[in-house]
Assembly symmetry: C2
Homo-oligomer: 268 residues x 2
């Protein structure tokens, strides 16, 4: 290490210490904080989302279209997948125990919030597909399969930070081109010890013959976890550009004025 | 009120009660929560913003351009305004005492977070302009003016909610056209009892003759407060479209891998 680098390190550490002093936060002794208010706001938003989804009832169609477009990426022993059931849950995530820590591996140069998240809900989709035996020739045998895949528990440690810096690299070339250095970003990531519990049931062949097929269950579970890990489990993280919070005329709104004493919104 | 409307009202209230039960929040008894972790994240971001601003040193130029473009909207007794000084502060806002409440006038149909914010800092800009006496004819007399306008304290009660609903109307026609019904929004607003303390000094005419001119001070203070009130003081609020938090490949990043044991970021 050169003297120059050592000076910069201590400069960065001092700077964070100054910030922590000015906002009265001691990372060693500050107790973790609750986020009950945040849980309420998030729950209210999820509830609005669910009500819209129930009204429109078009999620199943959208997902079917999506799966159809991805059918070429499916393993060859699976036919097209059709969604037959969708449960968007009726509980809400609980965020808790928020603490500020130095980002691991940042050499005390960055601060991030560490938050526990626990979701105890049933998010399920039922699918219909066919298991294909492609040997000795394609579709030698075709077995109808009915599957219900449910995530019944999600627990993880979430880290969150805000930044305008770009001390990170895109994971694919595609992202590099769409990247823009300006603005502020919310970065979040889940710890690798996350828990994602599944409840997977399958009906194969004749309707009367109900049995679990561990192979299919594990393929599905593997793909969902792979999707998740590749995007937002450490060392990968999501980096979302934040909109400007600067007050602007075009973002200004007022409550609807109604002559009635009980204003009715569209949603009713 | 019709029976139908009464049913809807109680349905909405029950729905919020269910949400509050599921996230274990009782609006009547829940103590207010601290936001010290949030203060750290915000402070770190402001610090990054300040470091960038100090490095670039182009804020004064940008503001001068902006003021020049707005010169036609200035009162006729003021000449063009040129910014001579800019202080972006060195302290950080403190958010605290966060509590969930039913939105006033919402008939218990909406929940929002109420947060105290306190900023004890000096945000100053010094300007140079001329006071024009336009009677009996334009520019009968011209008095050079040097002003320093500083905001030294800001205290307010902030309300925040998340929504995908559109129970509100734009305040101008311009906003109506750019409005888009999809997506989720962060809504925020400051209570009308906000406190914004100014420290305004002026130097008029000969350099030796230092004196405060209450007229100019109050014009400036009036315009800043008007700008603020028109945008984000109740009943007006800011409605910011939130980006999707759904994990995507294009938003995935990794830490930079460096052969050195102390990775150096651009900012150093």
């Amino acid at each position: 290490k050169t003297h120059y680098e050592t000076d910069i390190d201590s400069g960065n550490t001092n700077r964070l210490n100054t910030i922590l002093e000015k906002v009265y936060y001691d990372v060693d002794t500050h107790p973790s904080e609750s986020l009950d208010w945040f849980n309420v706001l998030i729950a209210q938003t999820i509830q609005q989302f669910r009500e819209e989804a129930w009204q429109r009832d078009n999620i199943v169609h959208s997902l079917n279209d999506f799966l159809h477009s991805k059918s070429s990426e499916m393993p060859s022993y699976l036919d097209d997948i059709k969604i037959t059931e969708l449960d968007i849950g009726d509980d809400f995530p609980i965020f808790s125990n928020c603490k500020i820590q130095y980002s691991p591996n940042s050499n005390k140069k960055k601060l991030e919030a560490k938050i526990y998240i626990d979701l105890n809900d049933r998010l399920a989709f039922g699918i219909e597909t066919k298991l294909l035996v492609n040997y000795p020739k394609p579709r030698t045998a075709v077995l109808p399969v009915n599957l219900t895949v449910a995530i019944v528990r999600f627990q993880a440690c979430l880290t969150v930070s805000l930044t305008n810096a770009e001390d990170f690299v895109p994971t694919t070339k595609e992202t590099a081109s769409s990247q823009d250095d300006d603005g502020y970003f919310l970065m979040f990531s889940f710890g690798p010890e996350y828990k994602m519990d599944f409840d997977i049931e399958s009906l194969i062949g004749a309707r009367s013959k109900l049995q679990n097929i561990p192979k299919i269950s594990s393929v599905i579970e593997y793909h969902i976890k792979k999707w998740f890990v590749e995007r937002c489990v450490e060392p990968r993280f999501q980096c979302i550009r934040l909109p400007s919070m600067w007050p602007r005329s075009k973002n200004t709104r007022e409550e609807k004025v109604d002559t009635d004493d009980v204003p009715l919104s569209k949603a009713e």
